[in-house]
Amino acid sequence: MRLSIEVNGQSHEREVEPRVLLVDFLRNDLGLTGTNIGCDTSQCGACTVHIDGLAVKSCTVLAVQADGTHVTTIEGLASNGQLHPMQQAFWDEHGLQCGFCTPGMIMASVKLAEENPSISDEDVRHGLEGNLCRCTGYQNIVKAVQAGAAAMGGGS
């Protein structure tokens, strides 16, 4: 099938098999390997991207379902060589160790923060239920999301 999609501000026209998952399309067809695959049951959230402004697990979406949408992946978050405030906050607060869950965790966190710049500890923990991290124990991720949210709120 013909797929027309904008990813990180770039338009793409591709022929794809209908069964191809969006995450595989991003990784294999566009070479955007920053979006990781951590499970096959939509539990881990490592593959979270933004589709038309919503945080979505890209392993649960067929590429063709994203036809005509605007997708942002982790590669599209920093601009002009400047880390996004959420990326910066994860760095500052040591919100990552092995880094594998990090792209999905950051993409999910950006959306949480957009909804609530002064998000509480509890709301971050609840909001990130769908993103698994095996390294950090989440504590520094929570701190990072709160710091990132504050920085985003102040910046925009």
């Binding site: 040591h94 095996r134 124990g137």
Partner: protein
């Protein structure tokens, strides 16, 4: 003087991870790459009567299909076991099954195709005819008159490992005022690193060289095993690369069948080949952890003095002996049964049994959490039976600070520690007495509030090579570290340690920069590639800083020695008068800093090499193979407060406090991160995680939907503090920090829950302490019995 060590330098590796530029194996794409998928056994134990691959081979886009015979006839050897205690029976483990399958997930056939999707399609077209055989999943059941999992073995017991004086222990138990008896299960866990395993291989037919990219914690060990046992390509023609690896927790130490299959396929087909595990495959192939059944007796006198400890453990090894599997319940478990305590006599023994389950090997802590769980659980039980406060009973038996080094009755010599200081600090941090007062109030209100305490020891940084090999290890456990100074004074430092989340690129750069007095940004840490690092043992057992870090310190010392001699020559002074100023990164005559030669000047001087002292070679590169004098012995005390919902049995962790002694700290932020992450994994074991098999050997918790991993909302904010007793025998004074959190948290939480349930008369519950299990225990208690 240090400038970086001891400070929370932000991690230099993070920018690439934050921007989606991690170099994970699954991200590798090579021209002409073929994709590998593996047909796995749906049965736990069966004879393979026939395999029909014809339909799969006929599918458009399938390049080839191979079975076990192809690999065996094509020169693939069996996967070896790297730790063999005396009298062990070693079952054979072929990379792809021959004649029989022995666990669900066992490799049966291999598809090579033009895409991963086509390879998956082809798996469904392979017809395998199985004849089911009797299945055993339980470690105790396997030891009885059960049909053997491996034909060549007399029974399912692969090894028996006793340690200590059994007669003296039994005598002491007889003479004790009390004997506390306990049978516990340390349940099977599934590691679940967030990155599934993956392997890519490329065969260079011109030079006859193989490159294997694999998600390993120790690429040199994998190269050794591939070269000497499984693939038959000599080591100098074999390059193994572990780039960024997304977590390991032990599960990526081992040599896996796919690491044989993928390079073999690449050579056989002449195509670069790639396999990426699905999470479903991870559950039935990544080596599992724990799975011990233990019977223990602790002798205690009326005044709380511990007199003796007798332990028998049956350790489930699964269907094959994984790379280090027999090490875990033996030299990393029985030897830790003394805990932080003076116990006059201990006898411990472990049986390793074969079953029709996924092989079990090291998982974060590996043997040591099982030991701590047992010791700290039975001590709590003793306190309850004697009516003593559990902290008071522990304090009474602590090894006093003036008795280090302390020789335990179970082989280890603890190097250093101040355990009473640890207890003071945790009681203060947690306001322990107040927690008890609050608990009393809550109990009066009918609430089920529990306070859990545990104080744990770990032997980290394995190990002096002679000791390790003496116990049964097939290789020495030293580490290499090289420092190469480039002509401009920039530095490449090569370590045989491997980072998969630990942050070596930061902490090791901190070490090298301080040792040589150069800016951190001038130091790059290189790891994970057998072609770039001459040799390495790898990262596990919390060994990287103590052994890998020390190797780099020694190499830096050699560099300093050479530069002092060179500077003396250039300044026409005596070497004995030369000062290497590590703050400035310069060498000068003592008392005349103005005479200095900077690090960069000296680095360039060994490159022009026109004014070298007699006998000194040009160039500036030093290598050290550092073999530790002993393990290091980090220890910790953790406290948790939990509350149980009487109606649902759900456990809420309300407060958590941790004090750890990991010796000197290179980067406090990273160490705290390790402790926090470790605690989460420990809480996971205590409350939620369980690898469950049914009696047919089907894994019931085989996905993230059925295996309960810790989530962000499962924890309160955790308070972490530390005491620092430097390790006396390594130049950094560091001890391992990677596993302590997990070791202590598991039993701290379990003790808290059992403490909450104690008023109901619940004596013991095995982990995980799920809502279902706890509510059943509450119901049984309310019904008048257990």
């Amino acid at each position: 003087m240090t400038r970086y060590v001891g400070t929370s330098v932000k991690r230099v590796e993070d920018p690439r991870f934050l921007q989606g530029r991690g170099k994970y194996v699954a991200n590798i794409a090579l021209p002409g790459m073929a994709h590998v998928a593996i047909k796995r056994s749906p049965l736990a134990h069966a004879k393979i009567k026939s395999i029909d691959t014809s339909e799969a081979e006929a599918l458009d886009g399938v390049i080839a299909v191979f079975t076990g015979e192809d690999f065996m006839n094509g020169g693939c050897g069996a996967l070896p076991c790297g730790f063999t205690p005396p009298d062990i029976e070693l079952p054979l483990h072929h990379p792809v099954a021959i004649e029989k399958v022995r666990h669900v997930g066992d490799e049966v056939a291999v598809v090579v195709a033009e895409s991963a999707y086509i390879a998956e399609d082809a798996l469904d077209l392979i017809e395998v005819d199985y004849e089911p055989l009797p299945v055993v999943v339980d470690t105790r059941q396997a030891t009885g008159d059960w049909p053997v999992v491996h034909d060549g073995m007399d029974s399912n017991v692969s090894f028996h490992w006793p340690l200590g004086d059994e007669e003296a222990t039994n005598d002491a138990l007889t003479e004790s005022d009390h004997v506390v008896e306990l049978e516990v299960v340390n349940q099977r866990l599934i590691p679940n690193s967030m990155e599934p395993r993956a392997c890519v291989a490329q065969w260079d037919s011109f030079d006859e060289e193989m490159t294997v990219w694999t998600t390993s914690q120790n690429p040199h060990t994998i190269r050794l095993l591939l070269g000497a046992f499984t693939l038959g390509i000599p080591e100098h023609k074999l390059r193994v690369v572990s780039p960024d690896v997304g977590g390991g927790f032990g599960s990526k130490i081992f040599h896996y069948p796919e690491e044989v299959i993928v390079p073999w396929v690449a050579r056989e087909t002449g195509r670069p080949a790639k396999w990426v595990s699905s999470r479903s495959e991870s559950y039935v192939t990544d080596r599992h952890g724990r799975d011990h059944v233990t019977k223990a007796k602790l002798g205690v006198n009326d005044d709380g003095t511990i007199t003796a400890f007798h332990v028998t453990t049956w350790a489930n090894m699964g269907a094959y002996l994984s790379t280090f599997a027999p090490l875990i319940p033996t030299a990393l478990y029985v030897t830790l049964l003394s805990g932080l305590y003076k116990i006059p006599t201990i006898f411990g023994e472990a049986y390793g049994t074969m079953t029709n389950t996924v092989p079990v090997d090291a998982y974060r802590g590996a043997g040591r959490p099982e030991a701590s769980y047992l010791v700290e659980t039975i001590i709590d039980l003793a306190a309850r039976e004697l009516g003593m406060d559990p902290v008071e009973l522990r304090r009474k038996n602590l090894i006093p600070p003036d008795q280090f080094p302390y020789q335990t009755p179970v082989a280890l010599e603890y190097d250093s520690g101040d355990y009473p200081k640890l207890f003071d600090k945790i009681e203060q941090l947690s306001d322990y007495q107040n927690l008890r007062r609050e608990q009393e109030k809550a109990r009066a209100e009918g609430r089920l509030v529990g306070v859990g305490f545990a104080s744990c020891i770990e032997a980290s940084g394995p190990a002096p090579s002679a000791a390790a090999v003496g116990l049964g290890a097939a290789i020495g456990l030293f580490e290499s570290g090289s420092i190469r100074v480039h002509p401009t004074g920039k530095i490449s430092a090569f370590t045989g340690s491997h980072a998969h989340g630990q942050g070596h690129e930061t902490t090791f750069a901190q070490i090298v920069a301080d040792e040589l007095g150069v800016p951190m940004e001038d130091v790059e840490i290189i790891h994970g590639d057998t072609d770039r690092i001459q040799y390495g043992v790898g990262t596990y057992g919390s060994r990287s800083a103590a052994i890998g870090g020390s190797a780099l310190v020694r190499s830096a010392e050699k560099i300093r020695t050479k530069l002092r001699e060179l500077a003396a020559h250039l300044l026409e002074a005596s070497v004995d008068d030369m000062v290497y100023d590590q703050d400035e990164g310069a060498v000068y005559v003592a008392g005349s800093p103005d005479s200095k030669k900077t690090f960069a000047e000296l680095a360039f001087a060994v490159t022009t090499a026109d004014k070298m002292p007699e006998g000194m070679e040009p160039g500036l590169e030093e290598t050290t193979f550092y073999d530790p004098a002993n393990f290091t012995f980090p220890y910790s005390a953790h406290v948790a407060q939990v509350e149980i919902d009487r109606d649902t049995g759900e456990v809420e962790v309300q407060k958590y406090f941790a004090v750890d002694d990991v010796g000197n700290v290179i980067n406090p932020m990273i160490v705290e991160g390790q402790i926090l992450g470790g605690i989460a994994q420990g809480v996971g074991q205590a409350l939620w995680e369980h690898g469950v098999y049914d009696e047919d050997g089907q894994l019931l918790s085989g996905s993230m939907m059925s295996y309960a991993l810790p989530r962000a909302d499962g924890f309160p904010s955790i308070a972490v503090d530390r005491v620092e007793t430097p390790s006396p025998h390594n130049p950094l004074g560091v001890k391992g920090a990677g596993e302590m959190g997990t070791i202590a948290a598991t039993v701290t939480i379990s003790n808290a829950v059992l403490d909450a349930l104690a008023p109901l008369g619940v004596r013991h519950l095995n982990m995980p302490l799920t809502a279902e299990k706890v509510s059943n225990a509450i119901a049984a208690a309310n019904g008048g019995g257990e």
